[in-house]
Amino acid sequence: MTRTRNLYLIPYAAWMLLFVATPIVLIVYHSFFDVEGHFTWANFEKFLTPVYLKMTFNSFWYAFLITAFSLLVAYPTAYWLTRTKHKQLWLLLIIVPSWINLLLKTYAFIGLFGTYGFVNAAFEAVGIGTRQILFTDFSFVFVSVYIFIPFMILPIYNALEELNPSLVYASRDLGASPWMTFRRVVFPLTLGGVKAGCQAVFIPALSLFMITRLIAGNRVVTLGTAIEQHFLVTQDWGMGSAIAVLLIIVMAVIMLATGNRGTRGGAVR
């Protein structure tokens, strides 16, 4: 096996160099230029002004909320899913919605949350009365959680499936209460799945721009929205690139801090 030269490497490495390395180098390069094409540090200086810092803080706060709520809903779902009878089928049913184009799902919420939509009609019926749901922080977080839930459920489900049930029995035999067993045995052993799920939700949530535009109006401005704005509306590629570069750095830090993704029950199994 050692005699053959690795001929496969040439096309693959060339492809990766062209489509992975080059675009990243270009975006870093562009972040040092202003609209007129002069070298400048101004983009990064501008990032340090209160407007952008507040936006960054907002992005993180929303991404954190989305991740936390996803986890809160997903963990019990995954846990109880592993204990149902036809679990493969149930899992499939969880995954089918994630294969529906996410634009369509977001669009559905414009109808559901609208002034005359189903939710307001229900509010009316129970006497709360019509209120503004669309274009609020709540609707933004809710729709994002809705979109991301399957990505959180899957890794946790996989981690729970890998858990050796005899450990749970042992814990129960030794006198631990169900809650104690969960807290001291089940949860720590599925932490890998939880981490993978959080990564799979947090990073995309940090750079959302489609849901912010459609559901939150322009109330919520995140880093993703800002990048889109700079590239496609104001054509200030330098500033857009600068934000992107900072986002890449943050992402890399998160990846390093939480360990490699995809090695254990991550989104890619």
């Binding site: 990766m16 992402m251 199994r269």
Partner: protein, 269 residues
């Protein structure tokens, strides 16, 4: 762990399923509403379905989306298999990890950054934004996924299999087409399907690299949804839901027949 769930658990799971499916059925229900709104069901109509089939622009966009998805996943499957073979042959650990890290960059990058960097890249190369740029970027983000789906299968393969084929007089090409590729088939299929779903579902990257006049379904839905409710989108989403369902069921049985536990992966938003 076939312990039955308590009442609370069952209620919780049912609630999650209702919330997951409600928006989708809400969309579908109002696609039959003659009032053309997403509230106040007036009377049953197939008018919006007729409109979808009369709308040549929309049909061309659907066709574009399908062509891009099939072409990009076919090409990225070939490139991905080559990539997996290349990585598998690298024996030095450091080089191998470097290649894998490079491979993972596009998987963990937020879509906005991929889109923005490709926009710069294509503009620099002078590639006109449209079919080519969308196709190339879809291939680019699909290749790493295929690699990750094929690589584990390749590592599972016993080297004696190749030695045996060589001893029996097979040429290098013969070993590849008669032994290696058939063994990898499940991984290749899974990779192809994953690439297909990523491509069909992608919005953010496509949004950055489509120029004027060329559009895919996600981008089109986005621009229509920004203008408010459009009942033909509802009709279209019903059609898409059933096509997706057929694909999912097809994939389920395909993986069943090959005797493999279906690995349920989901597309990243």
């Amino acid at each position: 762990m076939t312990t039955k769930n308590g009442k609370l658990a069952r209620l919780y799971l049912i609630a999650v399923f209702i919330v997951l499916y409600a928006p989708i059925f809400y969309l579908m229900y109002y696609s039959f509403n003659s009032a053309g709104t997403m509230h106040g069901f007036e009377s049953f109509t197939l008018e919006w379905y007729e409109e979808v089939f009369r709308d040549t622009r929309l049909l061309i966009i659907v066709l574009n989306t399908v062509v891009i998805a099939l072409l990009s996943s076919a090409i990225s499957t070939i490139l991905g298999v080559v990539g997996a073979l290349a990585i598998d042959r690298v024996r030095k650990n450091r080089q191998r990890n470097a290649l894998l890290a490079m491979n993972n960059v596009l998987i963990v990058s937020p879509d906005v950054i991929i889109g923005a960097s490709f926009l710069i890249f294509f503009t620099l190369l002078g590639i006109q934004l449209g079919f080519t740029s969308v196709l190339l970027s879809h291939i680019a983000f699909s290749v790493p996924i295929v690699v990750l789906m094929v690589l584990p299968k390749l590592q599972e393969m016993s080297p004696t299999l190749i030695d045996a084929a060589k001893d029996l007089g097979a040429s290098g090409w013969g070993v590849l087409t008669k032994v290696v590729l058939p063994f990898l088939r499940p991984g290749i299929f899974a990779g192809f399907f994953m690439a297909l779903t990523y491509s069909l579902d992608d919005f953010a990257v496509t949004f950055f690299v489509t120029g004027n006049g060329y559009s895919t379904l996600s981008v089109e839905i986005y621009s229509r949804a920004r203008q408010g409710i459009s009942p033909s989108i509802n009709a279209l989403s019903t059609l898409i839901f059933f096509v997706t369902l057929i694909l999912v069921v097809g994939y389920y049985f395909l993986t069943r027949r090959t005797g493999r536990k279906p690995s349920w992966e989901v597309a990243q938003p």
